[in-house]
Amino acid sequence: MNFGFTEEQELLRDQVRRFMREACTMQKVRVLAKEQHGFDAELWKQVADLGWLGLITPEQYGGSGLKWIDLTVVLEETGRGLSPLPIASQILSTAAILKTGSASHKSDWLPAMADGSAICSLALYDDPNWIHPDAIQLEGIEADGQVVLNGAKPFVADAMCADYFLLACKVGDATHLAALHKDQVKITPQVPMDLTKPMGRVVLDNVTVDAEFVLPLARADLAFLTDCGAVAVTAEMVGAAEQTLAITSDYAKERRQFGKPIGQYQGVKHRLADIYVDVESFKSLLYYAAWTVDDAPDELPRAVSLAKGYASDAFARIGIDGVGLHGAIGFTAEYDIQLYLKRSKWARPMFGDSDYHLDRVATLGGL
């Protein structure tokens, strides 16, 4: 029994922190988010060289064959600094190919994803707040070993920098993942409130694909990938929420009103304590969920729903109170705290909001 991180994992954490502190600074994040759809080739190369993109890719495909719990360390730390780089997209695409791809898909695609030379984004659901196979609305029609796709994927993460897409679609009654190159589709940027999480709309106009690039996506695999997505998002939430607390707690020590630091007033300090309780708690739940992905997959659905069910509402409230506890200065564009509020809004619906996850907890718990 050991619910802690190894020395290697702590070293990895230090490495990511250093990268965020030195290369992907908040100043840089702001520029990337505003002007470059969150992407920067230079930084991406550094990330790839550090090996984070191939963390869960088996060694035979050029990765390091580690686990989701290792990945969690990376996402927690990049989340802390609101990194806009498409690391989570790359990882989820990797997980999708590992689950649904053939041997040749894996050997053809995974090495280029692990070394960062090909950027890939996975898009599952088209309904804005429904986690269900029927929420996949893009349709394909099969004829003569080819599939013709018509429609749109409205919510594609990192669409503007991706080279390849894995787009969930329906062919007949069955769900599939269509693997496409960016030149086959039309991409329009969406304008989300959190620009550090770029999102685009991908339109498919009579796109014809060889059937070998349309990978069957079994319901269980769709559910698994959704759960992996929720683990990834929650890992980023843990880092971002901890940073929201750190920024706000520091401010409460400095800002004085009525002759005292505002952190001396219990209306302020007790809210900070409650935030600490929440972050500690969904962090513990997240670590357990991340561990189940590789080591107890049967437990994953319940574990991830406990974590994201808790985190979705808690972080949303933390984002709001982070701004509120700053007073007017928190409302300024110049102050970073508002970026965290936006991130908390972004995270809430991703891969299921609290209504979805808590209802699943109830069902899995026997109600």
Binding site: M1, F3, F5, I69, Q266, K269, L272, W291, A362
Partner: protein, 386 residues
Amino acid sequence: MDFEYTPEEESFRAEVRDFIEENLPAKDQRGPNFLATWLEKVRAKGWVGFSWPKEYGGSDGGLIEQTILREEMALAKAPPLGASFMGLAWVGPGIMQYGTDAQKKRFIPDILDSKVTWCTGYSEPNHGSDLASIQCKAERDGDYYVINGQKTWTTGAPWSQWIILLTRTQFDVAVKHDGITCLLVPMDAAGIEVRSIENMAGDRHFAEVFFTDVRVPVENRLGAEGEGWKVTVSALANERSSIGEVTQMFEKLDTLKALVNSSTKQGKPANQDPAVRRRIAVFETKIAAMKYNGLRYLTKQIKGEPLTSETSVNKLHRASLEIEMDDFAVELTGQSGLLLKGSETTVDGGSWAKSSLNWPNVVIGGGTPNIQRNIIAERILGQPKD
């Protein structure tokens, strides 16, 4: 990270289970001597004071084994492993850390053998959360201390043989934490009067304790004179893993789910009501968070890292769950939920109604939520003291 137990740990778990199987009859099959026999047997096993050093009669048990023991006992809803909860939780550890050899010889075996029950005399009528301000006076008179003053909310005072008492031996101190002295006092000493207090659930667990010229030999002082704060705070900081508690809370949640599955709300099955489902799920996320927080903190302890005040996190969850779960059950069952005693319409024998009146045991007894929040904000987040 791994949640596997070693073969030795697993065989220890099996041993505990086998023991329970053999020695814990169903509630309705327990004879009048059951508890005494149970206490003797767990003692013979070395499971009382399991983590205490062998030289004091403990078993030098490791943290993980201790966790397993608590978990299994909680799962089986077994009675406590000793007659004196407070003796095992902080009096014993305090004596082992600060006591003289004579005190260790005199007090520790009786705690382990369930021969003596201890109570705790910290709070006073005017000093609860602000414990360091206590006023109960102890004056030195030759080889004795003479105690005058009052304690209150003293749980178990009506039936305990000994009390661990915080007194003030010095009044002109710069810092209120100084000048406090800890004394070990027999409850049958001349000049002690106990008046039990009825609580809102109708029980008489706690009491006022009055001290009038009570004489206690100096050899009954625990730690140095004026160092009582350190002695008791560090004994209280002897934080116990909350894992047994978490197991009990999961059990309680299961009972609550069974209640939901057999109840209706506005004429429809309660388990289909989205608000009901959500509340149950929120309880489960909090209990699971307590579990995994607890395991994370346990891992820290095993690695030898000191815990700061992280246990306040679980105390806050526990406090809100303690109030909300019973309250939810009572609300869910409407007018039936209000009934305390068995009749056709009583729910689960009135146990929810009864326990919905008992949350102060947990929520106020061990330091109130506001105080836990102060601890987190000040000691972990570094906010200024109020």
